[in-house]
């Protein structure tokens, strides 16, 4: 396998990944897309564009490939280089810039690899990066360790829905007490943002499943859950739109999308429990 690291001139994150590889004698070839590697990156991108995320501000670098897999961004790249593919589900593409790193999902990875995950976070933190982590309440013990070690600066706590629907929305059984502990932990970070996505829920399974979006009252219950655990109505709380095309369950893709205007009743209901509730703009 030939390791190639696509970088951009002046990219601090690229330098950190390069140093990581050099310190561990990991062989690689660097292609600077703003210099001599421009044409090669363009060809690489053209051939792999479905695997490379291009956001509003362009492509996040570095992009690492060993010829088989592609890892974009400092988090996914370092996690792969350090622990092969064990941590793949903990990391994803980020959208933040400069010293901020996001795309770190505490709840998505295998908790057996918590130690390795924490080690990667330590590495990033020790390189003077600021971390934003996401959680949906699962793997509270990992979130707790992140808090205790001061590894993250911002936590995004996705409260998936009201207690009675939590496991259904998550797609697996979860003890609501763990979710509550995560809410409690999240509230102790330097900065926390609670949010709930108005997702479609399969209310009744079957050949003709009954599917409907979370109701405003159900989102209000999620807001109430946050209030009860944090003993505060004053948490930042965002109600988000469900992106139909990102649904893993094909049945949910068939549900028509909500508009930003549809979220207004949700905000009204949720504000009874979280007074700073805002809604995502389209």
């Amino acid at each position: 396998m030939i390791n190639t690291l696509y970088t951009a001139t002046g990219c601090t994150r690229c330098k950190i990944v390069k140093r990581f590889m050099e310190e561990r004698d990991i062989p690689y070839t660097e292609k600077d897309m703003k210099a001599e590697g421009k044409e090669e990156f363009q060809q690489f991108y053209k051939a792999n564009r479905k695997y490379i995320y291009r956001g509003e501000n362009g492509i996040e670098f570095p992009v690492f490939t060993n010829g088989e897999a592609i890892y974009q961004g400092i988090g996914p790249a370092v996690a792969y280089l350090h622990f092969n593919g064990k941590l793949d589900e903990f990391f994803s593409i980020g959208v933040l810039h400069k010293e901020w790193v996001d795309g770190i999902y505490v709840s998505h990875g295998n908790p057996e690899y918590a130690g390795e995950f924490i080690e990667v976070l330590r590495f990033l933190k020790n390189n003077n990066l600021k971390l934003q982590v996401d959680t949906n309440g699962k793997n509270n013990h990992i979130l707790r360790q992140i808090l205790d070690e001061g590894l993250a600066d911002i936590v995004i706590m996705n409260v998936l829905g009201p207690e009675e629907l939590y496991s259904k929305i998550l797609g697996e059984d979860i003890n609501i007490d763990e979710v509550k502990k995560s809410i409690e932990t999240a509230a102790k970070f330097p900065e926390v943002h609670f949010q709930t996505t108005v997702v479609p829920v399969v209310r009744q399974e079957g050949d003709s499943p009954e599917i409907s979006y979370l109701a405003p009252e159900e989102v209000a219950e999620a807001a109430k859950l946050i209030e009860e655990v944090t003993e505060s109505k004053k948490n930042p709380y965002l109600i988000k739109l469900f992106k139909t095309k990102e649904a893993k369950d094909k049945r949910l893709k068939a549900v028509g999308p909500l508009s930003a205007a549809n979220l207004m009743p949700y905000r009204s209901k949720a504000r009874a429990y979280q007074v700073f509730t805002e809604v995502e703009k389209a």
Partner: protein, 483 residues
């Protein structure tokens, strides 16, 4: 703006035969919501009820506010919008737009409403035959404030204008934020430059840029333009104007986009040049169907100081870069921009421009079209309300007698005329004509009467002439120069 130190207040002119008589509601400075009859009789004072503005609803209900946010932290943010009955009972209230925790103040929900609101059933908040505002239900549009950051405009804290629609239960069902449409306003590069450096910074709350200062908001209502297929004038679309940017606009209720606009510059087309530079405007709205002039836009073009653009001798940095020291009330066609009717210092009978500042309110003010074609004008800064006919005759005049203690001015933000029938609690008042005084002969007790005790003839003196050789060109001379 030239006032003697002594002059009458209250009703000073009333011609019942030419007036569209009714009650007038306005916010008396630091006193409350005051309902007066045509003779200035004070029919009901809702004491201490704030009004930005006050509106009267059928049945003797009044809309207003229970208070204002501490000026140290907010800019004109009203705590709420309340509907109060004839006896002062609050029968409806909205305040749940933003939860505010100001230092040293009780944390509370606030509407942060300012300048305008509209109750469903009536597009503009004043009397329109067949379009009565809903009294015991219906949604309400409110113009509110919100603090935002928008790096496309400036890195400073912005005081943004938002329009929300709330239902009877207080749920916000629609929201529009001005800053999200910055790129639709077509500011010049010079304007963007000064906006970035100084978006009209005010001191409240540690500093916030009151960058647009939208000061009115109303639905278009049914109109001939939409009936003819012009979607820009959909009855649900909303008209507003912005004092600081000199922009008049109509937004789509459906998409939020700006679908019609004049300003911020008025020198970019022949039509705009003929309309003239609108400065610091107020109360821009479409005259509703059923009133004379329906479909035209009515506005109080204040003059004063406003705008963003290139620096000039009157504006060293480019903020408030256009000036004019008199006001105009304009009625114009929204498609051709042709002025259909106007009341300016010229129609007021003043020598223009030498004496034009006698019709001048550099802030607040408004204009209401009445069913008989008259127009009720609030010349706000001097607390003067006048009703003028289509031929520009003043048939009613009232000067507010209420000066504030904390703010020593008798300003009236905006007055509305309503029919007698909207106040069933009292009998229709007696209408007593008030003949205009001959000011030349009007004397205070103790003052000498008009006229010399001795008139002395001087042989060889020449007759007096007109104004063409005055220190400044005026009237006819200006017309000739323009030709």
């Amino acid at each position: 703006m030239t006032y003697p130190s002594v002059y009458p207040t209250g009703a000073t002119i009333y011609n019942p035969e030419k007036c569209w008589s009714g009650y007038t509601i306005f916010q008396a400075r630091e006193l409350g919501a005051l309902l007066i009859d045509m003779n200035g009789g004070e029919v009901n004072l809702w004491k201490g009820l704030h009004g930005f503005p006050n509106q009267l609803l059928p049945g003797g209900y009044v809309l207003g506010h229970t208070g204002l946010r501490n000026n140290a932290f907010g800019m004109q943010d009203q705590l709420d919008l309340v509907q109060v009955d004839w006896e002062g009972n609050i029968v409806w209230k909205f305040n749940q737009y933003e939860y505010i925790e100001d230092p040293g103040e009780e944390a509370q929900w606030m509407a942060r409403q300012h300048h305008d609101y509209q109750r469903e059933g009536n597009p503009v908040g004043y009397y329109v035959p067949g379009m009565e505002p809903v009294v015991d239900g219906g949604n309400t549009l409110l113009l509110c404030h919100k603090n935002v950051k928008n790096p496309d405009i400036t890195d400073k804290n912005l005081l943004d204008d938002v329009i929300i629609e709330v239902d009877r239960e207080g749920n916000i069902v629609w929201e529009w934020s001005c800053n999200e449409h910055f790129n639709e306003f077509e500011f010049s590069e010079a304007a963007k430059n000064i906006l970035a450096r100084d978006p009209n910074m005010r001191t409240a709350g540690g500093g916030m840029g009151d960058w647009m200062h939208i000061n009115c908001m109303s639905k278009l209502g049914p109109n001939k333009w939409y009936d003819a297929g012009d979607e820009r004038f959909h009855p649900e679309n909303i008209a507003w104007c912005a004092r600081e940017s000199n922009i008049l606009a109509i937004i789509s209720k459906k998409t939020g986009e700006i679908v019609w606009k004049v300003g911020p510059d008025y020198d970019t087309s022949k039509e705009l040049r003929e309309l003239g530079w609108i400065i610091g405007p107020h109360h821009f709205h479409m005259i509703p169907r059923g009133l004379p002039g329906e479909g035209n836009m009515l506005i109080f073009d204040n003059g004063g100081w406003a705008g963003y653009g290139l620096p000039n001798p009157c504006s060293s940095k480019g903020r408030m870069n256009v000036l004019r020291d008199y006001s105009r009330v304009l009625e114009f066609d929204p498609k051709t921009l042709k002025i259909v009717w106007q009341y300016t210092p010229i129609e007021a009978g003043l020598v223009h421009p030498s004496d034009s500042n006698r019709f001048y309110s550099p802030f607040i003010s408004g204009a209401q079209r009445l069913p008989n074609g008259n127009t009720l004008i609030t010349e706000g800064s001097g607390g003067r309300l006048i009703e003028v006919t289509a031929e520009h005759e003043i048939v009613w005049e009232y000067i507010s007698p209420y000066w504030g203690d904390k703010f020593k001015i008798n300003m009236v933000y905006r007055a509305y005329r309503v029919p007698y029938e909207w106040v069933p609690q009292v009998d229709k008042p007696v209408e007593t004509p008030i003949e205009p005084k001959d000011v030349a002969k009007f004397r205070m007790p103790g003052a000498a009467p008009l006229g010399p005790k001795k008139q002395t003839e001087v042989p060889g003196v020449k007759p007096y002439q007109g104004s063409t050789a005055l220190c400044v060109a005026a009237d006819d001379e200006l017309d000739n120069l323009d030709k």
